[in-house]
């Protein structure tokens, strides 16, 4: 049986973060009921089409902030998934929570409908920075959310950290990393801020109202997190993802291993049968379309062999495991070691990559220039 991951997008937030360019609204809560209903209907539509061909190995409800949904709505969505797809016993089910909107009651509800992993958007424990980013919660809220999740019984918790935030200091990073270790958080996503052109933060930086840490500082922060977490037994299994052994996120790994996935909800991007397709980004259009029994797909792209090849390299090199050369050869009839001999020699000599036991992997010290490495190999 083929394996499948499911993503559900919840495009609602209490407030809009200044760096965020995801599709999410903070003033359309009146649409929540209709939206949840539409998502359930989309799951039904898709379920009829694909449900019986797949085993679902992971479900991720993200956003936006899924935790802003009213009580019972996550349960409704989860039930719909279980009714229409074959969700495996050991399926990883993650709910993303914003420290500002999550409650003990909601966490209990998630647990009851089978969620076994909670992802908390902490980002930073510096209240001044949280305020600049418009996060709408405080460091204490994050600490409280962690406490509640653990109290409710979640044994697999992720906390997000953003590096290279405005005014962020190395000491902020150290403090937060130490705190998470102390709380025995199993999984940490630590990624550098990406300045997206359409965001308020981008404009503020451009107008010099806000300054960001330099490239060098940001690299230092990242290296610190890597070294520190490694010492504490965390494995960086992907560029920005760290976990204790056996706590790697199955859902994330599926993306990087070119697995298939279906995404429900607004702006959801799916990958099935070598085709990537995306739902509309317009809330009303999404709801209307589903009401009329039509899938709200607005773009579809069949991935050809060359693109798949590039994507395979691009994604596999993000992981610490690296690219399985034999599998790659089998799939694309391409021996990368001979095809890219010169480049691989160059990268190996400069200690950027290593080829060991049939895997090509990027060395720890080189993850921060991954794009340049990938560009040489595709």
């Amino acid at each position: 049986m083929k394996k499948l991951s499911i993503y559900v997008h919840i495009p609602f937030c209490l407030s809009k973060c200044t760096y965020c360019n995801f599709i999410s609204f903070c003033n359309k809560s009146d649409k929540m009921d209709a939206y949840v209903q539409a998502v359930c209907n989309e799951i039904k539509l898709r379920g009829k089409e694909h449900g019986k061909f797949f085993d679902v190995t992971s479900v991720y409800i993200g956003g936006g902030s899924p935790s802003v949904l009213k009580e019972g709505q996550i349960a409704k969505i989860m039930t719909e998934i279980k009714n229409n797809f074959r969700v495996l016993q050991n399926c990883e089910i993650t709910i993303e929570c914003n420290p500002g909107s999550v409650t003990e009651k909601k966490l209990l509800e998630y647990k009851l409908v089978g969620a076994n992993r909670i992802s908390i958007g902490g980002q930073t424990l510096n209240n001044d920075i949280l305020r600049i980013l418009g996060r709408g919660h405080t460091a204490d809220d994050t600490k409280e959310a962690i406490k509640l999740a653990q109290k409710v019984g979640f044994e697999n918790i992720n906390v997000d950290m953003i590096l290279a935030l405005p005014h962020q200091k190395m000491s902020d990073i150290k403090k937060m990393a130490k705190f998470l270790i102390k709380k025995k958080i199993q999984h940490i996503s630590a990624y550098s801020l990406i300045l997206e052109p359409t965001t308020p933060l981008f404009r503020q930086v451009k107008n010099k109202q806000i300054t960001l840490p330099t490239e060098d500082e940001s690299v230092e922060m990242y290296n610190y997190v890597f070294d520190f977490l490694k010492k504490k037994g965390y494995n960086r299994y992907e560029v920005s993802n760290f976990s204790l052994p056996d706590y790697e996120s199955k859902h994330n790994l599926n993306y990087w291993q070119m697995g298939e996935y279906l995404a429900f909800g607004l702006a959801g991007h799916s990958f099935l049968n070598n085709t990537r397709f995306a739902n509309t980004e317009k809330l009303e259009e999404y709801i209307d379309s589903i009401e009329q029994g039509k899938l709200p797909i607005v773009s579809k792209e069949k991935i050809n062999a060359n693109q798949r090849k590039d994507e395979t390299i691009m994604l596999a090199l993000r992981t610490s495991e690296g690219l399985n050369l034999k599998e790659f050869d089998n799939a694309f009839h391409c021996n990368l070691l001979t095809d890219k001999k010169k480049e691989i020699e160059f990268l190996t000599n400069h200690n950027f990559i290593s080829v060991k036991r049939g895997y090509l992997r990027v060395n720890d010290n080189a993850f921060y220039v991954l794009n340049s490495i990938i560009a040489k190999l595709v």
Binding site: Y7, V239, A267, H269, Y368, V369
Partner: protein
């Protein structure tokens, strides 16, 4: 014979920007050759580049009809370029004419090209009609300029038409003067055909078309003709005139200016300066023709996308069809791949040709630093002409190097003399003479090595004289000089496309600037990149591009993988524009940016 009495063949000569093309427009308009509606500005400048830059590059003939005192005259105008680079085109059109209109800007007076062109016209025994243009401008100095023409050139200006081509003032006077003063052709209609090719171009339908001036005899469709240089014969398919669009006519007779098409495959067979005669009844002696033009400035022309080499080759072939002065031969660079070493008449010519390659043929061009042709004498007595720095033999084999020296005339208002002398001194110039032409203008004469002129002399001259100084130059000798090859090493590997030949005294300064500039334009690489400027094994300047520290997509989840792939594809696309020199990736722009170091 009668017919020729009513023909006038003339050209317009002027310094660049003195209003040559505008006057041509007015003449065309006034004679009703084109209706005002069809008249785009500068009709004879047909290339986009010509109109945009406001300069004439190719000469273009036009036939106009003008009635004077009840008689109809045919006026054949041959427009000519004004820039020093294209002097040879001027001399070509002069041979087809009996007279020349000399346009002088009433605000600027006699300039470098005015004089150069007048001398050319005099060499060709042309009757010169001086015309003072731009009299409508408040700063016009009509009387002074008239006197200047009389003093400097020695042409009587008493009856010189005072005009404004822009405003259409006194255009009639010019036409009258053409009829009255320019001699009519005196060819012999009944003699064997004798025709000068003064230009040629390629037409997709007609083949190679010759622009001709018929001296003796006549030619029509069906005539059998012979090129006297190649002895090849052809059947004429069409003869015609330019009005200014090509228009077929029954025949061309002695005195006429027009075109001949004969299904000729290749423009190289219609060699400019050749004489066309009848193959059945040939003339005994060909016309004197032209000197072959020799390129002055050379550079490598390469592509950002090496795969289009054949397109570049085709494009150069096509351009050469219409511009015989371009020379090219294949060249291989370790940095830039396959390309061509091209020779041009001057920097403007180089600029225009590369621009045409980009625009008309849609090619992305990389040119290397312009170079001149050096004479390299080896110890074993052999002499090599070298225009490509990387072709220079090892120093130990060289006995001496000689470089071309230009004799340079600079016309400038006195205020800028100091600035300009400073510039010339800095360019290894040798002062020869300074003449006060009048209270407003000075003629400075220098000897300056051509390699200094092609480097950035024009820009320097313009900026130091607020654009007022004008320049003419001519190569007059080769001279021994202490020249060295300056190499650039990127990550300790020589990048041949960046090598230049410079005078030893300037090597340090140039090397330092080059290294600094490259540091700016080469993006950070995966490793620290040393940039070194060297003479032989000696490093004279060094810069370092720090290693790249951060180039990663922090977050990469399912949703946006398509977008990430597209970013990657973009990066891949960008890499195509990068040149690999050893392990270093250099953007194509880097090769161009070193052309302007100041």
């Amino acid at each position: 014979m009668d017919r020729q009495k009513n023909i006038r063949n003339f050209c317009i000569i002027a310094h660049i920007d003195h209003g040559k093309s505008t006057l041509a427009d007015r003449l065309i308009e006034k004679t009703g050759t084109l209706s005002t509606r069809d008249l785009t500005e500068q009709v004879l400048d047909s290339m986009d580049i010509e109109r945009e830059r406001g300069i004439t590059i190719k000469l273009t003939p036009t036939r106009m009809f003008y009635t004077y005192e009840g008689e109809e005259y045919i006026l054949n105008l041959i427009d000519t370029p004004g820039h020093v680079d294209f002097t040879y085109e001027v001399s070509r059109s002069l041979k087809a004419c009996e007279g020349a209109i000399l346009v002088v800007d009433a605000t600027q007076g006699v300039q470098a090209q005015t004089l150069a062109n007048v001398y050319l016209a005099l060499e060709n025994d042309l009757t010169i009609i001086p015309v003072i243009n731009k009299i409508d401008l408040p700063s016009a100095r009509v009387e002074e300029v008239k006197k200047e023409i009389e003093d400097v050139i020695g042409i009587d200006c008493t009856d010189a038409p005072l005009i404004s081509a822009k405003e259409g003032i006194n255009i009639e006077k010019v036409l009258e003067s053409i009829v009255l003063n320019i001699p009519h052709p005196t060819g012999k209609q009944d003699e064997p055909l004798k025709t000068l090719i003064f230009d040629s171009y390629y037409d997709n339908f007609k083949g190679a078309v010759s622009l001709v001036r018929v001296f003796d005899g006549e030619v029509k469709a069906g005539s059998k003709i012979k090129m006297m240089k190649t002895n090849k014969t052809y059947d004429v398919t069409e003869v015609g005139v330019f009005c200014p669009q090509p228009k077929a006519v029954e025949k061309l007779s002695s005195g006429d200016v027009g075109y001949i098409a004969a299904s000729i495959k290749n423009v190289s067979e219609t060699k400019v300066g050749d004489t066309i005669t009848s193959s059945e009844n040939p003339t005994a002696e060909p016309l004197s023709g032209y000197k072959d033009v020799k390129p002055m400035v050379y550079c490598g022309v390469f592509l950002t996308d090496g795969a289009r080499y054949n397109d570049l080759k085709d494009a150069l072939e096509k351009l050469k069809l219409n511009d015989d002065s371009i020379q090219y031969s294949p060249e291989v660079s370790s940095a830039l791949g396959f390309g061509f070493r091209c020779g041009f008449l001057g920097l403007l010519h180089l600029e225009i040709i590369t621009e045409r390659l980009e625009r008309e043929f849609n090619l992305d061009i990389i040119t290397t630093a312009p170079s001149v042709s050096y004479k390299v004498y080896k110890n074993d007595g052999e002499m090599l002409e070298i225009s490509n720095p990387s072709a220079l033999p090892p120093v130990v084999e060289i006995e001496r190097i000689e470089e071309p020296i230009a004799s340079v005339s600079i016309y400038t208002p006195p205020t800028y003399v100091g600035n300009i002398m400073e510039l010339c001194q800095g360019k290894r110039g040798v002062y020869l003479d300074m003449q006060y032409l009048d209270s407003n203008r000075v003629l400075l004469t220098y000897e300056i090595p051509l390699n200094e002129i092609v480097y950035d002399f024009f820009d320097g001259l313009k900026s130091r004289s607020k654009g007022y100084a004008s320049l003419d130059y001519e190569i007059n000798k080769y001279q021994k000089s202490d020249l060295v090859k300056l190499d650039i090493l990127l990550n300790n590997e020589k990048c041949d496309a960046l090598s230049i030949i410079v005078h030893r005294d300037q090597a340090y300064n140039r090397g330092k600037k080059l290294a600094e500039k490259l540091k700016e334009v080469i993006p950070r690489q995966l490793f620290e990149l040393p940039i070194q400027a060297c003479i032989g094994a000696k490093v004279i300047a060094r810069e370092t591009v720090k290693a790249m520290r951060k180039d990663v997509l922090a977050k990469c989840y399912g949703g946006d993988i398509s977008r990430k792939r597209k970013l990657l594809e973009k990066q891949k696309e960008g890499k195509k524009r990068m040149r690999q020199v050893g392990s270093v990736e250099i953007p194509s722009e880097a090769f161009m940016s070193i052309l302007k170091l100041d």
